[in-house]
């Protein structure tokens, strides 16, 4: 074990800087909130992940945020176990009927102020599962969404950019939950 640790110390770090994506196709603000969120959140973000009906692809990429390449804690981002400790609810998947209640309760357990980030195509508008009779629709059908991160699943880099949008001034498109963008940019 000592050898492994030593080698790890001697090798160059793998962590990469996030690209300044500024890609309005990936990160979409549901409303103009960056100034407000920055003031309230400071430089740290506690994220509670919840799967409301995902295929687990989005979860895999959220997991990847913790690996040495992305190392999300460098940026003050961390996943927390309890909704009581969370600023942000990161929700994936279409909201199934069977998860609706658990999703609402998790959100209700979070202290104010709180934000909701909808992750992936399913969370946005149901994606390929839209119209299912046993589902409610995207996260927006049940909770007020502040930010959408597009992708199926979004790459870890997209996720990083999305979360950092809440903390740092950057550009993001403002759109509606239907999926079409208004075209207006929240210029900073």
């Amino acid at each position: 074990m000592r050898k492994t640790i030593l080698q790890g110390l001697l090798r160059r770090p793998l962590s990469e800087p996030p690209l300044a994506l500024d890609d309005p196709d990936i990160v979409t603000l549901a409303r103009d909130l960056d100034l407000v969120s920055q003031r309230k959140l400071g430089r740290g973000l506690s994220i509670r992940a919840i799967d409301a009906g995902s295929c687990n692809g989005c979860e895999l990429e959220m997991h990847a945020l913790g690996n040495a390449f992305y190392d999300l804690e460098r940026f003050g981002l961390r996943f927390v176990a309890s909704p009581r400790h969370a600023d942000v609810l990161a929700a994936t998947g279409i909201v199934t009927r069977n998860m609706r209640e658990a999703l609402l309760r998790t959100y209700a357990a979070m202290p104010h102020p709180k934000w909701v980030v909808a992750i992936g195509a399913c969370a946005r508008d149901g994606g390929l599962f839209a119209g299912s009779p046993v589902c409610e629709g995207g996260i927006g059908a049940v909770l007020p969404v502040d930010l959408w991160i597009a992708g199926c699943p979004p790459t870890p880099r997209d996720l990083l950019e999305g979360f950092l949008t809440l903390l740092q001034p950057r550009t993001a498109a403002v759109g509606s939950s239907r999926g079409e963008k208004s075209g207006r940019l929240a210029e900073r």
Binding site: T4, G57, E59, L60, N67, A68, F79, L128, V134, T155
Partner: protein
């Protein structure tokens, strides 16, 4: 003997239940009997059929689900509770009663503490020891079968690839194989090879992730950090080769959607070299860390008899003596042209499940090398005939075990499609494996099973 009774007698004689599923007014049964897949459909205009679950426990949840989805009543099944349909009163679910002095219950989920899929676990404990676990699933029931019915083939293939995202290649492959069987087409050789390259990359990524995650749940995060780096390297290579980290929508009915360019081939070469250089040291690290071994050895034992009766697929079965791999038998191309071994162990504990994964990582690396060396030239897809109707089946070995998929096509669209995730037959075994273990070892046991919620809940 009528065909249904004959199937039941084969099951009693040791055949493996692959799946039981419904359609409106029809129930289907598929068995693996002597290495061959046998399928039977039985009309039930009165929505009733004789329960298999009453005799064969592995059928119980499948029958409960067919009742939820299609109103088919398994006559003789004592368990009348719904399964996938949580209904209007989600809290009113009656867990099986557990009686005894000094027992207490611990409810866990559906929302868990990590980035995990939702499911509820009801533990009954005597002190720290779990005397009974009962799971309740269905939280991520998205109505896949209903969405499939009537969908165009291309759209249905995408849905199939999202039944369980971690097995997207295996599901897309099962769907494609079933469509090809139904329509009587064969994909070109190059497509078959590329599919196998993707399937082995998927297996590598998941096994590497799981090995790290199991050790992490044993309190040894160093393994997770190192395995996560290797997993990321696999995903990046997949992205470089096929343009998507998880390779979603790359396997399509008729062939594959993207060809492997020379840039991709060199990325794969570099990946194989990197894994070869790094992985053995991690295996040694696992093997020599006594504190970790202490957690994994003898923990969560699944007895061989249960694994066989349930037809537990994948790592779980193979760690409990079940010598089965769908790539070998019934088998499908190109694996008949490749050399690989199927590792089997008998201990059935967490340690055995880790070792099976370790050996399968090594096997997949060997397969990738062979696949690259023998990659045939030519087209990567054939056109599908439009119009004909038919039925097709497939049994594909995903990283989690054998995925069974059956579909019927009419007018170029899916009439009905049923996919049985390996987890269907594995989740109930977790309840058996945890019995008598301390509750603190549940995460370790659960992770070593790593069943899919989405794949099961459909």
């Amino acid at each position: 003997m009528n065909p249904w009774d004959e199937f039941v007698s084969r099951l009693a004689a040791g055949a493996t239940l692959l799946s039981l599923w419904g359609e409106p007014e029809r129930v289907h049964l598929a068995l693996l009997d002597g290495g061959a897949i046998r399928h039977l459909a039985r009309d039930c205009p009165d929505h009733r059929y004789p329960s298999l679950g009453a005799r064969f426990a592995q059928a119980i949840r499948l029958e409960r689900s067919a009742r939820d989805l299609y109103g088919l009543d398994p006559v003789g099944l004592a368990d009348r509770r719904p399964w996938l349909d949580h209904g209007a009163a989600p809290h009113a679910y009656p867990f099986l009663p557990v009686e005894g002095e000094a027992l207490h219950q611990i409810p866990v989920g559906p929302v868990h503490a990590g980035i995990i899929e939702p499911g509820h676990f009801r533990f009954t404990c005597d002190g720290e020891t779990v005397v009974r676990l009962e799971a309740r699933l269905g939280y991520v029931h998205r109505g896949v079968e209903r969405l499939m019915a009537g969908a165009a083939l291309a759209a249905a293939a995408k849905l199939a690839g999202r039944i369980s995202g971690d097995s997207t290649v295996a599901y897309a492959l099962a769907f494609a194989q079933a469509v090809e069987a139904a329509l009587g087409v064969s994909p070109p050789p190059r497509a078959i090879w590329l599919r196998a390259i993707m399937a082995e990359l998927e297996r590598l990524a998941n096994h590497l992730g799981d090995i790290g995650a199991i050790c992490n749940d044993g309190g040894f995060s160093l393994m997770l950090s190192h395995c996560a780096i290797l997993r990321e390297r696999v995903l990046r290579a997949a992205d470089a080769c096929f343009g998507h980290r998880l390779m979603m929508d790359r396997v399509v009915p008729g062939g594959v959607a993207v060809d492997l360019a020379s840039k991709g081939i060199s990325a794969l070469g570099a990946l194989i070299a990197e894994l070869h250089a790094r992985f053995p040291a991690l295996v040694t690290l696992y093997d020599l860390t006594a504190s970790l071994q202490d957690r994994t050895n003898g923990t969560g034992i699944l007895h061989a008899d249960l694994a066989r009766r349930f037809g537990a697929g994948g790592v779980i079965g193979r760690a409990s003596g079940r010598d089965f791999d769908a790539r070998r038998s019934p088998g499908y191309a190109p694996y008949d042209a490749l050399a690989f071994t199927v590792p089997v162990l008998g201990e059935g504990d967490v340690n055995a499940r880790i070792w099976i994964r370790i050996k399968e990582v090594e096997q997949s690396l060997g397969l990738l090398r062979q696949l690259l060396a023998s990659l045939p030239p030519g087209a990567i897809a054939t056109d599908l005939p439009s119009g004909p109707a038919g039925e097709g089946m497939a049994l594909v070995e995903g990283f989690r075990g054998d995925i069974f998929l059956w579909l019927a096509i009419a007018d170029g669209r899916v009439r009905h499609c049923h996919a049985r995730d390996p987890s269907w037959l594995q989740w109930p075994l977790l309840e058996a494996a945890i019995e008598g273990n301390i509750i603190a070892d549940f995460p370790l046991c659960n992770k070593s099973f790593n069943c899919s919620y989405a794949g099961h809940d459909l």
